[in-house]
């Protein structure tokens, strides 16, 4: 791993335990919880606070070692909005891929955040320098639901309130280098559909 940018001290940094919310109204309607509405309310009087989007980034090298650690650690209950690879050195070898996983702490319970080679569409071939927007594993409900809430309480390894590491895995070693950025909402904690 490279130096962890999240551990550095920035000028004028302000850190909250989060999640951070903002809106011109959030406590104006008693007993309002977005699903239970006390009577009828004009839209202009509804609480309108939303969640702040956060991001974490890490530098990765093309390594075949399974589930290699990264610098990204997501808070419990996070919803993932998007994942981006900035490839600064093209990936080489037989496979030019990079798969990202949630690591719940139990080896057999990895949850794939990106398309898994051979099991879905859209796994980008990182054979050129550039920016790649990565989708969840198309057609795989369990892995798509990991984006909705990384702390899905139906998973066998679920522990309430535990942060979850993100790990990387390429099929083979190579010369590839990139920056992985995950945009997420901490503490959204969406319920199961």
């Amino acid at each position: 791993m490279a130096n962890n940018p999240h551990a550095q001290t920035y000028k004028g940094s302000t850190t909250f335990s989060g999640p951070i919310k903002a809106g011109s109204r959030w406590l104006d309607v008693p007993n309002y919880d977005r699903t239970t509405v006390p009577g009828t309310i004009a839209v202009k009087d509804l609480p309108n606070a939303g969640f702040v989007v956060c991001s974490q980034s890490c530098a990765v090298e093309q390594k075949a070692a399974a589930q290699t650690a990264t610098d990204i650690n997501l808070p419990s209950g996070s919803m993932i909005l998007s994942i981006q690879y900035i490839v600064t050195a093209a990936f080489t070898g037989t496979k030019k891929d990079l798969i990202m996983y949630l690591d719940p702490g139990v080896p057999d319970e990895w949850r794939v955040l990106t398309p898994s080679d051979g099991t879905g569409g859209g796994l980008p071939v990182l054979d050129a320098v550039g920016v790649y927007n990565v989708t969840p594993n198309v057609g795989d409900t369990r892995h798509v639901e990991a984006w909705r809430n990384i702390s899905d309480d139906r998973e066998a390894d679920h522990v309430e309130g535990r942060s979850i590491d993100v790990r990387q895995d390429s099929t083979n070693d190579g010369d590839g280098r990139c920056i992985v950025t995950i945009n997420y909402v901490p503490g959204m904690d969406l319920p199961n559909a």
Partner: protein, 181 residues
């Protein structure tokens, strides 16, 4: 998990430069504050009719992204309209007609496969009239009801089926870009 709530908009930067003059100052002296990107999400299902969500977008916000995380694919009519509502609100998933525009933001977004679907040019290039301006400023300039809007969704067609997803709207609160548009 604790929570910090602000009235917003939340703006972050290092240099305020209260004496900034665009034509004369150096770039390194310019103010560098930016708006924090905000997000609200709501569960939706494959039902027909135009229905409310619990998403409430503050007045004059700029919409930065609309997406649907599809966890069960739509199987009947497989496209969604995403619009706004400004009438009396009684809760999420309520059918609304008056005081609503069902394709204020997105028209015919395909939700046929489990995965992440992000609204793009093909879903917004045939919006009615100047509705694209709703992305620049919610609601668009000149609207009679110029205030907050509830986000709505409408599965095209007349038959409900098993589709399930999370509708997410990302925005910058109260930017009001109409001044530079």
């Amino acid at each position: 998990m604790s929570r910090s709530t602000f009235s917003g908009p939340v703006i972050v930067g290092v240099d305020a430069s209260p004496t900034y003059q665009k034509t004369t100052d150096r770039v390194e002296d310019n103010p560098d504050w930016g708006f924090v990107n905000m997000v609200q999400s709501a569960a939706i299902t494959e039902t027909y009719d135009n229905r409310t969500t619990s998403i409430v977008i503050p007045n004059k916000s700029t919409i930065t992204r609309v997406s649907v995380l599809v966890t069960t694919a739509w199987s009947g009519t497989t496209t969604l309209d995403i619009g706004t509502y400004w009438g009396e609100y009684t809760g999420p998933d309520v059918v609304v007609t008056l005081g609503a525009d069902k394709d204020d933001l997105v028209n015919n977004l395909a939700v046929t496969v489990v995965g992440m679907v992000v609204a793009g040019p093909g879903d917004t290039d045939d919006l009615t009239g100047s509705d694209i301006d709703n992305w620049m400023r919610m609601p668009k300039p000149g609207e009679t009801y110029d205030n907050d809007r509830v986000i709505t969704y409408d599965t095209e067609g007349t038959v409900a089926s098993e589709g399930v997803g999370i509708l997410t709207v990302e925005y910058c609160q109260a930017v009001d870009l109409s001044a530079i548009a």
